[in-house]
């Protein structure tokens, strides 16, 4: 027990240092800003110069769009401003906007968004967050009419046919970042399966829970993202505990079969997802801090400061989880229950308590992963859907039931998803990962690190 307490304290210390230490390095807030995303059809365009001048024509600031196409210029005061896109800095093959200048009014404390439609008449959208134009009012008969904007376009470099080396490194950078978060998110699913044999279809919604809770703390309650994230982790842990003690454990004690519980988890998925739609709404939202940053070059990789913190936190947590599993008694108990619950119980391990611990830690990590995803993508109620199948791909590739399988699988799937855009269109990159998962299930169903067992 003492080693476990030390490990938990160590974990909290790492988190505290990470979160608090990163605050001064990452804070980038002005009272008023103007910004946006430069996209060519769905691919972000990098390196475009934008100049902001005030109503008198004096230049206020100038910047370049980053690897995600994003740019932002801080403003001295509210008022009218003119944003001009320098068409000479557009990469070749990208059509210029019909109007290279947009005039807009920025209110007090407003982060104004301005959109340049490349190739179409430039127009102003509503202030941030930009509303999506897809259906929120459900079409009759269509399940929820969740028209997603596919191919996030937030993680892809400008689509060119030939792969330049810089592009490959960019993809690797994005992939590693995504994969590390995916590994965190997948841990919970894999361990739950390992200990009780349940494939929890609602696990993606636990990730979304973290993202959305953090958003409410950050935007509605006005808490800075770092303490909001810590609170979210605690809330997610409580949610996981409540789910196990209040719902899943009674079901197990009743003797509910695994297939029944799996379909029940589908019901939980529906309940949670549409609760998020109900509470959060159908639009994508952003956190208030750390969202707009430009990437820096670290060797051949390109990451923004927040990306490095994200990857550092993810890696650190994975190391802590590994150490806990290997060195502490609680960790050993988890591994024993994953291996053979009956034998573990007969050797004196409280299986129920182990399972609850797994739920708590798994959900907490999923919640944190949700916050991190919300940082690199945006927060919306469909996050769970999008991430669930990738989590499945990660755990199956790595080996369903093992923690290290989940982590390794997550990293590999993350890199795979990004690098595959060299060969397949970006909107199909998730399909590529799913195809890999299907193939793995056919040729090596236990995944890379799993144990050979009956899968059929």
């Amino acid at each position: 027990m003492r080693t476990l307490s030390k490990a938990v304290l160590g974990l909290l210390a790492i988190l505290a240092v990470a979160f608090l230490g990163s605050a001064p390095a990452l804070a980038q807030e002005a009272d008023e800003t103007i910004g946006g995303v430069i996209r060519d059809d769905r691919d972000p365009v990098e390196g475009v110069t934008l100049t902001v001048t005030d109503a008198d024509g004096a230049e206020v600031g100038t910047t370049e769009s980053d690897a995600d196409g994003r740019w932002r210029v801080p403003l001295p005061a509210p008022g009218e401003y003119v944003v001009t896109l320098d068409v000479d800095t557009l990469p070749e093959g990208v059509p210029p906007p019909a109007e290279p200048s947009i005039t807009t009014n920025v209110g007090g404390n407003q982060d104004r968004s301005v959109a340049f439609r490349l190739g179409e008449p430039g127009r102003e959208p509503a202030p941030e967050p930009s509303p999506r134009d897809d259906a929120e009012a459900p079409v009759e008969g269509a399940p929820g009419a969740e028209v997603e904007t596919e191919g996030e376009a937030l993680e892809e470099p400008g689509g060119t046919a030939t792969a330049r080396p810089a592009q490959v490194w960019q993809l690797l950078s994005n992939g590693l970042r995504f994969g590390l978060i995916l590994g965190l998110a997948s841990l919970g699913l894999s361990l739950v399966f390992g200990t009780i044999g349940l494939v929890n279809f609602s696990h993606g919604e636990l990730v979304a829970f973290g993202a959305i809770t953090a958003w409410f703390l950050n935007i509605s309650a006005g808490i800075h993202l770092l303490p909001a994230a810590l609170i979210t982790i605690v809330l997610a842990a409580v949610f996981g505990w409540a789910q196990d003690r209040g719902f899943w454990r009674p079901l197990r004690n009743r003797g509910t079969g695994l297939i029944t519980m799996m379909i029940i988890s589908v019901g939980v998925l529906l309940l949670l997802r549409f609760s998020y739609l109900f509470i959060f709404g159908g639009e994508r939202q952003q956190y208030r801090q750390f969202v707009i940053q430009s990437a820096m070059a670290i060797g051949p990789f390109r990451w923004a400061p927040r990306d490095m913190w994200i990857m550092g936190i993810s890696t650190g947590l994975m190391i802590v989880v590994s150490l806990v599993l290997l060195k502490t008694r609680a960790g050993k108990a988890v591994r024993a229950v994953s291996d053979n619950p009956a034998l573990a119980a007969s050797s004196g391990i409280y299986v129920d308590r182990v399972v609850t611990n797994v739920w708590v830690v798994g959900t907490a990590l999923a919640g944190l992963a949700g916050v991190l995803f919300g940082l690199i993508q945006s927060v919306d109620y469909l996050m769970g859907v999008r991430i669930l199948l990738l989590i499945f791909a990660a755990v199956i590739l790595g080996g369903l039931g093992t923690a290290w399988g989940a982590m390794l699988g997550g990293i590999l799937v993350g890199i795979l998803v990004e690098v595959s855009t060299l060969l397949i269109p970006p909107e199909l990159k998730n399909a590529g990962a799913l195809a890999i998962m299907v193939i793995i299930l056919l040729i090596r169903p236990q995944g890379l690190l799993g144990r050979r067992e009956r899968v059929g």
């Binding site: 008969g141 029944t260 799996m262 549409f274 109900f278 909107e427 059929g456």
Partner: protein, 329 residues
């Protein structure tokens, strides 16, 4: 609160097109899951392939409508083959994951902008239903009371319900045959069936194909009723709703899926109209719920219904507790 309006709208949904589409999808699922125990989470893919087969043949390539129907069926059968050959040996939970992944791969492919010229991208296709409506014998609106439909809609509903009855007839005939008995035996104990010398793999494949062909009917009706097809209508939620309907009505019963579909959409429509009227009439305070939030509420209810059904009455309304697929690993 206009109760007359609420009643009218809800009554129409008893025979409406959603009920038809999901009844057909659930009947197909019944063959696969209710009778054979295959946890196919990709039923949406069968409907999508059939619908796109029809729409692409007619709208993109300008070929006749009936050829489109044929191609839709062929596509569904091919999908059953492709899906089944590698995966039917897998355990239930792995089969579920693979089928849902396949369903998403197919949807993403149909949705892709690379293939937009063929499949219409995220906007989908329209303009493939003319031959269908040319056969419409109804001239004027017909019906009585709340069930008054325009001539086009009446034709869609007629054809749809005829197809539903046809599918039920097929299922009934199949399941009382020796072939059907083998399916049920596979559901109960695969190894026992194998030990008697039956080729379990082939039976499962046939079950998957037949369920998929009935699911293809659902895809046809869905696209014809909307006179359009869109990829985002075929998300996993489509399959999840079909499962809810199947379990609600009672798996492994011929009319279970039909009754489930009717009740499901009636309840959903009734609640939606009720809540929306309530919000408009200020019975529910606006701070609690706006009119745009009515949609999610009823789908939250679907999740709750599914959970409650499985926990307290997994056999649904008409099902037989002894014939349950569940409690089998």
């Amino acid at each position: 609160m206009d109760w007359g309006f609420i009643f009218d709208v809800s009554a129409r949904s008893l025979v409406g097109q959603e009920a038809i589409v999901y009844a057909l999808a659930a009947i197909g699922l019944n063959v696969q899951f209710g009778y054979t125990g295959l946890l196919n989470f990709g039923q949406a893919a069968f409907a999508a392939v059939a619908g796109y087969g029809l729409a692409t043949t007619v709208a993109t390539f300008g070929l006749p409508f009936w050829l489109g129907i044929l191609i839709g069926f062929a596509g569904a059968a091919l999908l059953a083959l492709l899906l089944g050959i590698p995966t039917l040996r897998l355990r239930a939970d792995y089969l579920a994951i693979v089928t849902i992944a396949a369903s998403e791969i197919i949807r993403l492919t149909f949705r892709s902008s690379t293939l937009r010229d063929t499949f219409g991208g995220s906007n989908g296709l329209t303009g493939f239903t003319n031959s269908f409506f040319d056969l419409n014998p109804y001239e004027e609106p017909m019906g009585f009371g709340p069930w008054t439909f325009g001539s086009r809609e009446a034709w869609v509903l007629t054809v749809g319900w005829v197809l539903v009855l046809f599918a039920c007839l097929i299922v009934w005939a199949l399941m009382r045959s020796p072939w059907g008995r083998v399916l049920k035996a596979i559901r109960e104990d695969e190894d026992a069936v194998r030990s008697v010398g039956k080729n379990v793999y082939f039976y499962k494949m046939q079950s998957l194909a037949i369920g998929g062909l009935i699911g293809a009917l659902a895809g046809f009706m869905f696209s014809i009723a909307n006179a359009a097809i869109q990829p985002d209508l075929y998300q996993p939620t489509f399959t999840f709703f079909a499962y809810t309907i199947l379990i609600l009505g009672g798996a492994a019963r011929v009319f279970g899926p039909v009754v489930g579909a009717i009740i499901f959409w009636f309840v959903l429509q009734f609640l939606a109209t009720l809540i929306e009227s309530g919000v408009r009439a200020d019975i529910f305070p606006f701070s609690l719920m706006t009119t745009t939030q009515v949609g999610p509420v009823r789908f939250m209810l679907v999740g709750i219904i599914l959970i409650l059904l499985l926990v307290f009455r997994p056999q649904g309304i008409f099902g037989n507790r002894k014939e349950l697929v569940f409690d089998v690993r």
